[in-house]
């Protein structure tokens, strides 16, 4: 019996629907069809009236969730692809995110974003949106990298009083497997040291955690011990865990699948440079996708995003400084 990353997301939603009558799911094709990726398979049948197809109206879908959250519900909105959430940005950034600040009342909702690149998906079905949501105050942004985190963090997201953007990586949906659903969780908002090391810290999140681990194994054969830190939640950012790791290693490479301008990896470098300058033995670096739209052809795509090979090269560069 194995559980995929996608199973974990479906199971977390099923548990939330079962345990909390305030929870409901709204999104395109999420009803009887079970969602474009089957993240809501069978849930409409099990929870009648609580798993509903929406019109193709991302703005109204998020706006509806804001209103329902204000009425005390716990809506989960599934975007078919993270990329399409740009159409709903106004309601998320200007409405959901400002509600607690403006009114002192919570706006608990989860926006699920099937994120990141997969082969052949091209410019409009591959995006990683976390940087945009992180930029605005008032939103928690989660980027789980493991089956266990996909399950426990989604449950946490649903329970949180704040709007949460839940970036789930499509590349991990079917291939990432675990033995069973977890029974315990890493504390909320805490990063996790995936692999201990002494020579360099690689801070990353989501699917890039797995690429970084492969790169770390490659460098281990060359005699370097790479510490891989999975941020898990990119906002709030667990600066303490990052700085503690850099204190051990003296070097930093921050890796993100999204574009280089601004974003989570830029934030990690900025914080380490300003708060941990004296811990560093080399300039902190970051590695991101190329600054172009995401290419369609697998040859181009493989060169566009960070991979284990490119991460390994980036780590060597910092190590040789």
């Amino acid at each position: 019996m194995s559980v995929t990353y996608l199973d974990a997301i479906r199971s977390a939603q099923e548990k939330a629907l079962r345990d909390d009558p305030r929870v409901f799911i709204y999104g395109q094709d999420v009803g009887r069809f079970g969602g474009a990726f089957k993240a809501t398979k069978n849930l409409a049948e099990k929870f009648p009236g609580r798993v509903m197809d929406s019109p193709i109206s991302e703005d109204a879908m998020v706006g509806m969730a804001v209103g329902a959250a204000m009425e005390g519900m716990r809506p989960i909105v599934e975007m078919q692809f993270a990329d399409f959430s740009t159409v709903g940005l106004n309601q998320m950034l200007n409405h959901a995110a400002t509600t607690f600040w403006r009114t002192g009342k919570p706006c608990p909702m989860v926006l699920r974003l099937p994120s990141g690149g997969t082969p052949g998906s091209g410019p409009f079905h591959s995006q990683s949106m976390e940087a945009i949501y992180c930029h605005y105050p008032g939103i928690v942004v989660m980027t789980p990298a493991t089956v266990e985190d996909a399950y426990t963090m989604l449950l946490e997201a649903i329970e949180m009083p704040d709007p949460v953007v839940f970036c789930e990586h499509k590349l991990l949906y079917y291939h990432l497997k675990s033995e069973a659903l977890p029974e315990s969780a890493v504390p909320a908002f805490r990063a996790r040291v995936v692999r201990a090391g002494r020579d360099i810290t690689c801070v990353t999140y989501s699917a890039m955690v797995h690429e970084a681990v492969v790169a770390a194994e490659e460098l281990a054969e060359e005699g370097y011990e790479v510490e891989v830190v999975d941020l898990r939640t990119v906002k709030p950012l667990d600066t303490d865990t990052v700085l503690a790791s850099v204190a051990r290693t003296g070097r930093l490479l921050a890796v993100g699948e999204s574009w280089p301008w601004g974003g989570a990896s830029a934030e990690v470098v900025a914080r380490v440079a300003s708060e941990g300058f004296e811990l560093l033995d080399a300039p902190p670096k970051r590695l991101n996708a190329k600054d172009t739209p995401i290419p369609y052809h697998p040859n181009l795509w493989a060169a566009h995003r960070p991979t284990a090979v490119r991460i390994a090269a980036g780590l060597r560069e910092v190590l040789r400084y």
């Binding site: 509806m64 804001v66 204000m70 995110a97 400002t98 009342k105 950012l237 914080r271």
Partner: protein
């Protein structure tokens, strides 16, 4: 189907029956007197930021607010002082939001027309037009899921807001879900300075109702009792389960877009037309015909006292202090701690 009601002041009220004329009359007077005061406070430099008034739109707005009950949802826009007062927003909260009182519903974090009180079902608007349509729809879906029956949600828009994607998406969603949503469009001919002919190409916005599969109601927004009738009818239709109702009132705003704007772009011909009538004058004339001039004057004096008292009270209240502000945009435990560390 579009329904057009020709309104007229009714005959004298019966004893023991709530007189709609008194309810609406008092409401639109309170709104007008308060907004005149806010305009003066703005010109005196006592209000920071914009002041957007609803002069000329009080009848349509007030009738909407008065048609609702406790437990309903009201999402006003920028010209809905009358609707707010009609729905039950305390006048003092309006003044607090403008003067930035710490005791106000927004505590100085937001102000003026962006105020709301979720505990009263008054949603604080965001500036992005059309956004409140889907949000009220969401509140109504929540009430339906919670098993709260007989609730209505009402939101206001202008002719300009009908051009947004949000307005379309929200109304379409509400129609699909057959929600008890009333959308009141105050078509005042101009979105800021842009006239209708640069905003939409259909003859009358109420004709769009058919396209959405919802009921549409056109009304002369300068005629208070016509507004009363149509809004009550639309709200009751929604309450009975007839789905969303689109009400379009034609009127003119009798002020600038904000108090910083002289509104000189409004055509003189339109100002002197029936559409440019002041709904308060229409009501006052009707009162005179009914021999109730004294009542009208009495309501006005009461409103003036209430406004002066509210302004005096709020003027003595504390303003926000940046050193006491907690600067937290989220509620989640641990979040503030981590963010402050940065």
């Amino acid at each position: 189907m579009a329904i057009r009601v020709a309104g007229a002041l009714e005959s004298k009220p019966k004893k023991g029956v709530v007189d709609p004329i008194e309810l609406l009359g008092r409401t639109i007077l309170r709104a007008r007197v308060l907004e005149d005061k806010l305009g003066n406070l703005y010109r005196a430099g006592r209000i920071v930021g914009g002041v957007y008034l609803g002069k000329g739109q009080e009848a349509l707005s007030g009738a909407g607010g008065l048609a609702l009950r406790k437990g309903d949802i009201f999402a006003p826009l920028i010209r809905d002082m009358a609707g707010r007062l009609g729905f039950g927003e305390p006048m003092v909260d309006a003044v607090r939001a403008y003067l930035g009182s710490r005791l106000g519903p927004m505590k100085g974090r937001d102000g003026n027309i962006h105020r709301g009180d979720l505990t009263r079902g008054i949603l604080p608007m965001i500036s992005h037009l059309g956004a409140m349509v889907a949000t009220v729809a969401g509140g109504l879906m929540a009430k339906r899921m919670k098993g709260e029956k007989g609730r209505v949600g009402l939101t206001c828009a202008g002719d300009g807001a009908t051009s947004t994607g949000s307005f379309h998406e929200g109304l379409n969603l509400a129609a699909v879900e057959k929600l008890p949503l009333v959308v009141v469009v105050a078509d005042n001919g101009y979105a800021y300075s842009t006239p209708n002919e640069r905003q939409f190409a259909c003859e009358d916005l109420v004709d769009r109702a058919k396209g959405y599969g919802v009921d549409g109601h056109g009304v002369d927004g300068t005629d208070p009792m016509a507004c009363w009738k149509v809004l009550h009818y639309a709200v009751e239709r929604a309450r009975e389960g007839a789905g969303p109702q689109l009400v379009v009132g034609k009127l003119l705003r009798l002020c600038g877009h904000g108090e910083h704007d002289d509104g000189l772009y409004v055509e003189k011909k339109m100002k002197s037309s029936e559409r440019g009538r002041d709904c308060l004058n229409v009501m006052e004339e009707g009162m005179k015909k009914r021999g109730q001039e004294k009542e009208w004057q009495g309501w006005r004096e009461e409103a003036q006292r209430e406004v002066e008292e509210a302004v005096a009270k709020v003027s003595a209240e504390p303003v926000p202090d940046p050193f006491e502000e907690d600067w937290r945009a989220t509620q989640s435990a641990g979040m503030a701690e981590v963010m402050v560390a940065s």
